[in-house]
């Protein structure tokens, strides 16, 4: 059981983003930092744009789109969310 499973994730108010050519470009306007996401990252971001999602929901979504086993998928999503949280682009709610 992953400690992330029970949490919901949503986009922070410090960011503004735009989808361009299958990629997402993001600005953290508090920090003045820019980020780019492609493929899995862009897919997760788009899902979060439509509302808060749980870790499991995000994993399901990615597994539906990509041929990846659950263990690897969970690892990738956990790493991605960790980074997005650290950069204050995403916030979590217990």
């Amino acid at each position: 059981m992953n400690e992330l499973s029970n949490k919901k994730f949503s986009l922070s108010t410090a960011q503004v983003s735009s989808n361009m050519a299958d990629e997402v470009v993001i600005l953290n306007h508090d920090k003045g930092m820019y980020y780019g996401l492609s493929e899995v990252g862009a897919l997760v971001w788009s899902a979060l744009e439509s509302g808060p999602k749980s870790f499991d929901e995000l994993c399901e979504l990615v597994m539906n789109e990509y041929e990846v086993d659950r263990v690897n998928c969970e690892e990738d999503i956990a790493a991605l969310l960790d980074e997005l949280l650290r950069e204050k682009l995403v916030v979590d709610e217990a």
């Binding site: 503004v16 735009s18 361009m20 050519a21 470009v25 600005l27 306007h29 003045g32 820019y34 780019g36």
Partner: protein, 303 residues
């Protein structure tokens, strides 16, 4: 009080601005911007990377959102609400004062009016605008002059202001009919020296007023070029749309402290809209005037 037209705006000014198009003073146009002589009280000021004639500018933002710009020995400016630019001059040289007024200082007012500002020279090719960005010395004005020589219309030199319509389409606002070019550009491109006036004493730079009507309508942005001189990069490389916001911040012509919070968000969205509507390139500056003219000819087919 003289009335002028620049960037699609009517400007009433206490000081002479010979670069701009004069309007009849008895007309019924209501000024959008007032340029007013006044003493200026500064907020806390910081050094910027903006330099002109070897003078570095200091800038600061007041608690009322006004933007101050100070050029030692030349003038201080305070832009308020996108409608008034206060000027405190330290020089008797009215041409020098005008040069500094119609560049970054007026740019601060345009920024307050919500326009996207590029450190770029722009020309109209056919029905489209081409913008040339780059560090000082990268060849912005030279490239624009080479297009003008081939019959393109000048839209702006050094400072380009972009407005967006309701569909977020970008348009270059025609600035004023003057290009400032180096003496070697005049010779290199074989320009008619009869149309040139020295910018001021001691500097080998000339002002060129193109021999044609100045465009009066906004022109849709089609091409944006970042000029560079790096030999180790390819001659022409597409800039990915996702890179546009960072590149446009890097070439922001005003003090970077202005790009925070809401203003930075606006700049980000406007950059995205530009990247959606226009092609963006990194272009290595052609190695000499002959290759520049060749490149211009191959791109000016729509002129």
């Amino acid at each position: 009080m003289p009335l002028y037209r620049a960037f699609e705006l009517t400007i009433a000014s206490d000081i002479l601005l010979p670069e701009l198009i004069s309007l009849p003073e008895n007309g019924n146009s209501i000024p959008d911007i007032h340029i007013v002589r006044s003493a200026i009280t500064f907020p806390s000021m910081e050094q910027t990377a903006i330099h002109r004639r070897g003078v570095m500018a200091r800038s600061g933002t007041g608690s009322d959102g006004s933007i101050c710009l100070q050029w030692e020995g030349i003038a201080s400016f305070r832009a308020v609400g996108g409608h008034t630019l206060y000027v405190d001059s330290y020089t008797e040289d009215f041409a020098l004062l005008s040069l500094f007024t119609v560049s970054e200082a007026l740019g601060c007012v345009l920024f307050q009016r919500g326009l996207l500002l590029l450190h770029a020279s722009s020309v109209q090719v056919g029905q489209e605008a081409f913008c040339f960005m780059g560090e000082p010395g990268a060849g912005k004005s030279t490239t624009a002059s080479a297009f003008v020589k081939q019959g393109a219309q000048l839209l702006s030199d050094d400072l380009t202001a972009i407005a967006f319509d309701k569909k977020n389409q970008p348009f270059v606002l025609p600035a004023y009919p003057q290009l400032k070019i180096w003496g070697n550009t005049v010779q290199g491109l074989g320009l008619d020296s009869a149309r040139l006036v020295p910018v001021s004493e001691g500097i080998n730079k000339f002002a060129m007023v193109p021999d044609m009507d100045f465009p009066s309508k906004p022109v849709p942005v089609a091409q944006i070029y970042f000029l560079h001189k790096a030999r180790n990069r390819s001659a022409l490389q597409a800039v990915q749309p996702t890179e546009a916001p960072v590149e446009l911040v890097r070439h922001f012509p005003l003090a970077t402290h202005l790009l925070t919070g809401k203003a930075l968000q606006r700049h980000f969205m406007q950059s995205i809209w530009c990247a959606s509507a226009a092609s963006i390139w990194r272009l290595r500056r052609p190695k000499d005037f002959a290759s520049l003219e060749e490149w211009v000819l191959s791109n000016a087919t729509k002129v």
